[in-house]
Subunit: 84 residues, 2 copies
């Protein structure tokens, strides 16, 4: 099995109310040095190494299930081999 890390972020021009809320919370606790908070998703999964065309499979999964390509971008890393 290989560990795969997927990062999903809102596209730049999409509003992020959750990020704004977190930014306000940080400011009100005194962390004025922070700005441009954007919140996305981080996913870890294991993928069987014997799968055909791992790269293509992961892209498909990202586009169909793990992200919403209308408003989100994704990147992924295929990481180390791990025993299940």
């Amino acid at each position: 099995m290989r560990k795969v890390k997927v990062y999903v972020t809102l596209k730049e021009n999409v509003l992020d109310p959750q990020g704004s809320a977190v930014e306000h919370a940080l400011h009100s606790l005194g962390y004025q040095a922070v700005s441009h908070v954007r919140i996305g998703k981080y996913m870890e999964l294991l993928v069987d190494e014997n799968v055909e065309n791992m790269d293509e499979t992961i892209k498909e999964m990202c586009e169909k299930i793990l992200s919403n390509p209308v408003i989100e971008d994704y990147t992924y890393e295929i990481g180390e081999v791990v025993s299940e």
Copy 2:
């Protein structure tokens, strides 16, 4: 300003119903090669470089606001300098 990336993940022994739901969805679409899906958060923020003790400040923010230390772990990366 420096770009900071924060990764928040559920601790290993904490159940992840959202991850299970995504895993089921992937299996039902035919992606049987996938297992152990865990879902976390990925946050990007800018932090003023002139802040005192940036490392300590980010840790504090992670523990107070960005994660729930009872059930979540966090890691962060202090990245490149960006113009606002």
